[in-house]
C-alpha cells in the first residue's frame, strides 16, 4: 500500500531513532531489557503504520490511543526532520526564536498573506472573552492573541450593551502572556506600548516554560496557545499543565498549523512550504534555516485527529477541532469540567 509522505518520514525516522537509542543502551546496566523494549517499540511502530492504514478504512477511533506514545517519542526528539536529543531540542528551538523575534510579525504576514490575523481573530471569538477573566496565553511572545482578547473585552461596542455592575469586574481582568523566550516577550512589550495597552494592569508578561507552568491550580478561565505547541518538546506535559491551571468550566484553545489531506491542494501547499517559505525567510530575515525548521516541524506535528485524542487523554471534554484553508490551520478546543 502506498504510504503517504508523512508516514514515510515518520517510519524512517522512527527506525533511525530506535537504532540510535539502542547503541547507548548497551552502555547501561539494564541493557538486555532496554534492547528488547526498544526493539519491541520499533516493531510496534512498523505494525502501527500498517494497522493505522487498515484502521483508517475501518474508521476506528480506538487506534489513536496507541499512536500517541510513539508519536510523542518522535516529537520529543525531532527538530524538523532532523533527529536530536530531548535535552537539546528546547535549546535549538530557543535559538530559532531568538533569531526570528524581531522579524516574527512581518514574516507571519508574508507567509500567510495576512491570513494569520483572521485566524487569530477567529480564535479569540471562539474563546468569547468576558470582563473579569483570568486568561493565560502560552507561547504568545509577541502578544497578538493577548491584545485581541483585551481589546474584545474593553471594546466600546461591548460596554454599550453591558450592565453597569460589570464595570468593576473589568478591572479584575488579567491576561498573562507566558513565553520561554525573553526576546519574544520584549518585542511583545514594545508592541503593547505602541498600541496603548502598556500601562493597563491587565497585561502581565511572564517568562516561563509551558511544560512547567508556575501558575496555581484551578486559577485560569482560559488557556490559549497559538502556533506554539508545535515547538515544545513534550506535548503531553503541556496539555497536562494546561489542564492543571484551568478552572472548572475553563477552556483550552490551540491554534496550530496542521495537516492538509485534500489531493491537489496538498501538493500545492507542500510546494509552497518547501520551496517558497525558506527562500522568503532568506530574503527578508536572512535566516533560511529557521524557516526550514518551521515547515519541517509542521509536518512532524501529529495530525488533527491524533492531536484531538491527545487532548482528550489529558482530561478535557468536548474536544473539537475546526479546519481552516483545507487544514493548513486548525483550532482545537477542549473544556475542563
Amino acid at each position: 500500500m502506498k504510504t503517504s509522505f508523512h508516514e514515510q518520514v515518520t517510519l524512517s525516522s522512527a527506525r533511525k531513532m530506535c537504532e540510535g537509542l539502542i547503541a547507548p543502551a548497551r552502555m547501561c546496566l539494564i541493557v538486555p531489557l532496554l534492547e528488547d523494549y526498544l526493539n519491541h517499540i520499533s516493531c510496534c511502530i512498523v505494525k502501527r503504520m500498517s494497522v493505522r492504514m487498515v484502521a483508517r478504512r475501518l474508521g476506528s477511533k480506538l487506534l489513536p490511543r496507541f499512536a500517541p506514545a510513539a508519536t510523542l517519542h518522535s516529537h520529543a526528539t525531532s527538530f524538523g526532520f532532523k533527529e536530536v536529543n530531548e535535552e537539546e531540542k528546547s535549546q535549538l528551538v530557543g535559538n530559532v526564536f531568538t533569531k526570528v523575534a524581531s522579524n516574527y510579525d512581518i514574516m507571519n504576514d508574508l507567509m500567510s498573506g495576512g491570513l494569520h490575523r483572521l485566524w487569530k481573530d477567529r480564535l479569540v471569538s471562539k474563546l468569547s472573552p468576558f470582563p473579569g477573566m483570568k486568561h493565560l496565553d502560552v507561547a504568545g511572545g509577541t502578544g497578538d492573541v493577548a491584545f485581541r482578547i483585551l481589546e474584545t473585552i474593553n471594546s466600546v461596542n461591548r460596554r454599550a450593551k453591558e450592565d453597569t455592575l460589570e464595570d468593576d469586574l473589568q478591572e479584575e481582568t488579567q491576561i498573562y502572556v507566558c513565553d520561554i523566550n525573553p526576546n519574544m516577550l520584549n518585542v511583545g512589550k514594545k508592541r503593547a506600548q505602541e498600541r496603548g495597552l502598556g500601562d493597563l494592569g491587565s497585561l502581565v508578561w511572564v517568562e516561563g516554560d509551558a511544560e512547567k507552568l508556575t501558575f496555581k491550580d484551578d486559577s485560569m478561565d482560559g488557556y490559549t496557545i497559538a502556533f506554539g505547541i508545535r515547538n515544545v518538546t513534550h506535548i503531553e506535559k503541556v496539555l497536562a499543565q494546561a489542564y492543571r491551571v484551568l478552572k472548572k468550566g475553563g477552556r483550552f484553545l490551540c491554534l496550530e498549523l496542521s495537516h492538509v489531506d485534500t489531493p491537489v491542494f496538498k501538493q500545492v501547499y507542500d510546494y509552497y512550504s518547501f520551496s517558497v517559505i525558506p527562500v522568503v525567510g532568506e530574503l527578508v530575515a536572512g535566516d533560511r534555516d529557521s524557516y526550514q525548521y518551521l515547515v519541517e516541524s509542521i509536518r512532524r506535528f501529529p495530525p488533527q485527529e491524533v492531536f484531538a485524542s491527545m487532548i482528550a487523554d489529558a482530561g478535557f471534554q468536548k474536544v473539537e477541532y475546526e479546519n481552516f484553508v483545507g487544514g493548513v490551520v486548525a483550532i482545537h478546543s477542549g473544556l475542563k469540567i
Partner: protein
C-alpha cells in the same frame, strides 16, 4: 408509546441541536478509555455524581482523583443554563445572563464560550423545561382535563403553558426574535411541533391522515397568535389574553364544523351532478 417518543425526542433534541457540521467533535473518548482502564462500575458512579451535582454549591474544592468520576459537560451545561434563567428577567436572553448563571453555580464563565449558539441554547433549554413541566402537570392529573370538552381542554392546556412564560414576558420578544433567526429556526420549529403534539395528545386526539396535520397546524396557529397577543397585554393576570384564547379556540372548532358541513354539501352536489351526468350520458 406516543408519550415515550415525545420524552425521548425532548431529551435528545436539546443535545442534538448543539451539533454544527464544520466542527468535528471527538465523541466522548474519555469514557471509553476510562472503561478500558479502570474496573470501577461506571454507570453507578455516574448516577451518584448526577444526584450530587444537582445541589448547588455543595462540592468540596479538592483536586479530582481518578476514583471520583468527572461530571459530564452536558450536565454542567444544563446546570449553568438553569441558573441563568434567574438572570434573564434582568439581563435578557443574552450571554451576560449566562455568564452570571455560570458564576452562580461556581463554574468558570468560559463554559459559555463552549456552548454553541449561546442565546439560542438558553431559549431552547427554557422551551424544553416548560414542555417537561407541562407533561408533568398533565401526568399528575392536577389539570382535571377529563371533566372538560375538547375545545376547553385545548384552551386550558395553552393557558397553562403560556402562564409558564409569564414571568419572562418583558424579555419574551427577544426570545421570539432569537428563535426566528435562520440558524435557530429548525430547532424552534421542532420544539413547537412537539408542544402542539402534546396538546392534542393530552386531549385524546384520534385524528389521522390529513386531519392530524390540520389539527396541529390550527392549534399551532392559535398558540402563536395568543403568545404574541400576550406580549402587549397589560391587564391583570393576562385576563384579556385568556378571553382572546377562548375566542380563537371557539372559532377553530366552529370552523371545523363549518368545514364538515362544506364537505357534506360538496359531496351532495357532486353526487347530484354525477347522477345527472350519468342520465345525460345514458340518453345520448
Amino acid at each position: 408509546m406516543h408519550r415515550s417518543a415525545a420524552k425521548r425526542l425532548l431529551h435528545s433534541s436539546f443535545f442534538y441541536a448543539n451539533q454544527t457540521s464544520p466542527i468535528r467533535t471527538i465523541a466522548a473518548p474519555r469514557f471509553r478509555f476510562r472503561f478500558l482502564a479502570s474496573t470501577t462500575p461506571e454507570p453507578n458512579d455516574f448516577n451518584t455524581r448526577t444526584s450530587s451535582s444537582s445541589t448547588l454549591g455543595d462540592r468540596p474544592s479538592h483536586t479530582s482523583t481518578t476514583s471520583t468520576p468527572r461530571a459530564n459537560y452536558e450536565e454542567e451545561q444544563a446546570r449553568v443554563l438553569a441558573a441563568s434563567l434567574h438572570h434573564v428577567i434582568r439581563l435578557g436572553w443574552t450571554e451576560a445572563a449566562m455568564i452570571a448563571g455560570a458564576r452562580d453555580v461556581r463554574v468558570s464563565p468560559s463554559i459559555v464560550g463552549a456552548i454553541p449558539r449561546k442565546e439560542a441554547a438558553l431559549v431552547e433549554y427554557f422551551m424544553d423545561e416548560c414542555l417537561q413541566k407541562l407533561i408533568d402537570k398533565i401526568d399528575s392529573g392536577e389539570l382535571q382535563l377529563l371533566d372538560l370538552v375538547a375545545s376547553e381542554r385545548i384552551a386550558k392546556l395553552i393557558k397553562v403553558r403560556l402562564q409558564m412564560q409569564a414571568p419572562y414576558i418583558s424579555k419574551w420578544p427577544q426570545a421570539l426574535s432569537i428563535q426566528a433567526q435562520p440558524s435557530n429556526i429548525s430547532t424552534s420549529f421542532k420544539q413547537r411541533a412537539m408542544l402542539v403534539d402534546e396538546f392534542w395528545h393530552a386531549s385524546n386526539d384520534e385524528g389521522s391522515g390529513v386531519d392530524w396535520y390540520l389539527k396541529r397546524t390550527v392549534v399551532g396557529g392559535i398558540y402563536s397568535t395568543t403568545e404574541i397577543y400576550m406580549l402587549t397585554d397589560n391587564s391583570t393576570d393576562f385576563e384579556d389574553t385568556w378571553i382572546f384564547l377562548k375566542e380563537r379556540v371557539r372559532d377553530a372548532f366552529d370552523l371545523k364544523k363549518t368545514f364538515q358541513e362544506v364537505k357534506y354539501f360538496a359531496e351532495a352536489v357532486g353526487a347530484g351532478l354525477g347522477s345527472s351526468l350519468q342520465g345525460f350520458a345514458k340518453k345520448s
